[in-house]
Symmetry: C2
Amino acid sequence: MHTMGENGMKAYREMETSELKTLKEQLEEEYRGFQAKGLKLDMSRGKPSRAQLDLSMGMMDVLRSGEDLRCREGIDCRNYGVLDGIEEAKELLSAINEVPSDHIIIYGNSSLNVMYDTVARSMTHGVCGSTPWCRLPEVKFLCPVPGYDRHFAICEYFGIRMINIPMTPDGPDMDLVERYVETDPAVKGIWCVPKYSNPQGISYSDETVRRFAALTPAAEDFRIYWDNAYNVHHLYDEPEKQDVILEILHECEKAGHPDMVYKFTSTSKISFPGSGVAALSASLKNLEEIKRQLTIQTIGFDKLNELRHVRFFHDLDGIRVHMSRHAAILRPKFEAVERILDEELSGLEIGTFTRPRGGYFISFDSLDGCAKAIVAKAKEAGVVMTGAGATYPYRNDPHDANIRIAPSFPEMEELEQAARLFTLCVKLVSAEKLLAERGAGA
Amino acid sequence: MHTMGENGMKAYREMETSELKTLKEQLEEEYRGFQAKGLKLDMSRGKPSRAQLDLSMGMMDVLRSGEDLRCREGIDCRNYGVLDGIEEAKELLSAINEVPSDHIIIYGNSSLNVMYDTVARSMTHGVCGSTPWCRLPEVKFLCPVPGYDRHFAICEYFGIRMINIPMTPDGPDMDLVERYVETDPAVKGIWCVPKYSNPQGISYSDETVRRFAALTPAAEDFRIYWDNAYNVHHLYDEPEKQDVILEILHECEKAGHPDMVYKFTSTSKISFPGSGVAALSASLKNLEEIKRQLTIQTIGFDKLNELRHVRFFHDLDGIRVHMSRHAAILRPKFEAVERILDEELSGLEIGTFTRPRGGYFISFDSLDGCAKAIVAKAKEAGVVMTGAGATYPYRNDPHDANIRIAPSFPEMEELEQAARLFTLCVKLVSAEKLLAERGAGA
């Protein structure tokens, strides 16, 4: 977490009202200049750029018509068969997910779909023999905030009541998590992005992970939904700049709660976002239950795409080399946004932002009550940000302060323009807000 | 439907007991001969053979690294985006599914998964605003029998009560269907494989389809689950030997029930069974509801695989040419099985079988009470058939008579051996049964 430093610029709050008014007029003129440029940029989603996608183009050539399309077990990957993934895909994905290769199921192209299915199954069939959630008067999930909007959307779709849990620099507020999980049997889950979290880029401390593993839930069917989306998604190659977190399955096992966690991962931001391979790791007992469902749900997922990934990446070393190439493209973008935020906002005391060492987002917090107006202003000038509030359940940010910045997709020049415009919107809306507070609004 | 003809062979029932006993001993010796061969053949599932898979190998080359991977709309198919399929995939799949291209959603690799999801969504969210099925005391589905085991497995998994509807040569017994659907509001669905049905290869008559479209269900959330699995899967090239059925969406619309049907299809048995593209067609109102769910469930399916299919097959003409190549491989296999069944069983009056003009199965009906024993005998000699009973809900064939034969996977020589063994088992078990009836069992 970074508070704008002191580079000699004056904090807005300390300005005289007349000074602030003049400033606001200048900012408005600047804004009109931006509007005239007719920008059309998108910083809304964690979408890899074209250059990043090009890194994986070799994957299109590893299964040519001349190749043998049988996997190691001798199974023809073109045909039906194999419910939970071919052996070599299990090895690759479990290496990425840091689990033993018998503790994984390989799915289709979307880990979101796996998470959705996991909740849907719990609604209709319960969890390992528990009462189906659809028969309960209420089901609740804990949601560390700010967090990932699509996690929240799943809960909302199924009518699961969401409870905000504030994030700290070490992860979710564990005092609160423990209190809810250990006393309220209606609490059935918590969404976690434990490494390079979405949107703050926070990685959970060892103590946080251990406290998760040590939870003694009031509900037998409570599970931790551990979305390991960014495990190998470092921005820096130097080991000391790469976050490392404890492995949750192992910790849960050690703590005597082997069944308490579902750990999701995918190659969406390793290979191709639309055509990756997703996976779920859990205890053998959990996996057994899930496979009973899978047998009914499908005849199997796309084994050719599994094979394609294995033949292209080979192993975890291959993944690491590849991720370093992603980092080489992403890092300058993150640094550019951070630089511009520093240059434009330092000392103004109108916002703070995170400087993650991995993942896909920078989290920005404006003055209370400004986020929606900032995002709207940016949009009016052609820059689409993630909707303000999206990082909170029910799209309701109680402070109207958090904005998720996704620097990955735009090309560098556009990104810099978008970041400048963003900071301009922050300044303008902040000035307006402060003037309004003083009864001197426009 | 074909009853074994009269080629001069004597019906088992007309044999003297001593004659039948001698015959049984001969058959047993023949059976031991088969056992000694140590066969290991699989006629259990509708799995394409290696030669059929090879027909689509060109698909591995159409998206090489040098190719532009944008679809017609200019969207980069490698990246996130596009929920319901790229335009050209919609065109191709809707041509296969015989619907307008705005009446389709493109999914992942498995139409079974689409059907499962459709039922799962109805369980938790109802259908277009109806009460979620999980809140109802009972939900029932009609199941034309014999039918597809995996349809039944979905119902069983969700606790949906299944009601057998006998098949006729024109499709399901529509008198019965009408009576159930129009009087019982707990009846929410019926599983149909309307063309080259699984396992009988029956195609619904025009009258059957029109009576489906004219249904006035007691339940507002009743839907016809129209599994259009074999629409282009003819065994013969001559148009007069290809079944044609009425298009159900259009018929439902004409009859004033546009929302009453979900029509599923996939390329699983066109391209690669594990790596095809599935689709669902329905009214715009139904599709809208489904897309609201899809937005929550996934960020989108594998667009590269959609593009791969379009670039390889181009259009319906491409599909037709390709399916004719499949037919050239499949037809001799079906004909060989039928020939052997004729040769071995004609006149014995111990079984009947279907001679489908498309699809993947031949349906065999033994004397009552013999199917399980026949399948067990075949298995003991190394030939795996679909489990007896599998073609009925709850694996309960009240006559213990129906056996599904899947001729597609084995190579010709093996197939002929398997078919011979199968007929031997039919003869042996039938002789045993008749002797037992006469109190002259072993």
